[in-house]
Amino acid sequence: MTPGSNEGFRPIAALAAAAFPGAGHLVLGQPMRALGAAAGVLLLFGGGLFIGGIDAIDSKEDRVWFYGQALVGPITFGVDWAHQNHFKAIDTRTKQLRTGYPTETQTTDDTGQRVWRPLTADEAAAGMGPPNVKGVGRMNELGQLSCTLAGMMNLIIILDALFPATRRRESGGAS
């Protein structure tokens, strides 16, 4: 089977597609399809982050949504890692990891853990606050939805890279 072949079972292409949107079709020798697929998935994913902020990706508090978003690939896990490890901190009262309130800022306790503490009057006057604002309401819903749609579309693209022969109803021309 040649690299540009449009037939059979192509696990390497599927793995590439799972690693980065559109990469599977590059492996299949179809750069224009790869470009279109990557543009669509990344527009949905980036658009979701733009709408809902980094809080749109949250494997701890929005796990069911995260299952769909994870289909975009390592990008999602990277964003979630950054969200959990750089933007959240421990609530000293409940001992839970959470996003900060507008009147809080991050600090480290004696054990080196990131914890939230209230802002002083000077810090509040200087406009300080948590590193991100928690998404709520429609913006959070739409951000999560867009990132999850990106995952769903990438699943279609992964399956198309895995079974390229079953793809098109029209004449089977490659890009």
Binding site: A56, G129, G135, G137, M139, I157
Partner: protein, 88 residues
């Protein structure tokens, strides 16, 4: 490590946007994204790709508008007729 920028200023891709006044328009970029990704693997000849993407985007937006109108008619017009509520 603590995130360095601890300010309340809006940061793109970190903080949510304030689009509550025109949230329904966000269907447009979503429809474009879905059409771009789906048609990339469905069209036979890539020269037809832009036209197919434009058509599918329009179909999605039109479909959602029709569903919104249908939901409005059912909830705002039909349900009050079928299950009238006593006046307060």
């Amino acid at each position: 490590m603590i995130a360095p920028a601890l300010t309340l200023a809006w940061t793109p891709f970190i903080d949510p946007i304030d689009a509550n006044a025109f949230w329904y328009l966000l269907i447009i970029p979503m429809a474009i994204g879905i059409a771009l990704a789906f048609k990339a693997v469905r069209v036979g000849e890539m020269r037809k790709y832009p036209r197919h993407v434009a058509m599918m985007t329009a179909q999605i937006i039109l479909g959602v508008v029709v569903l919104a109108i249908a939901s409005f008619i059912v909830i705002d017009k039909l349900v009050p007729i079928l299950t009238p509520m006593p006046a307060p």
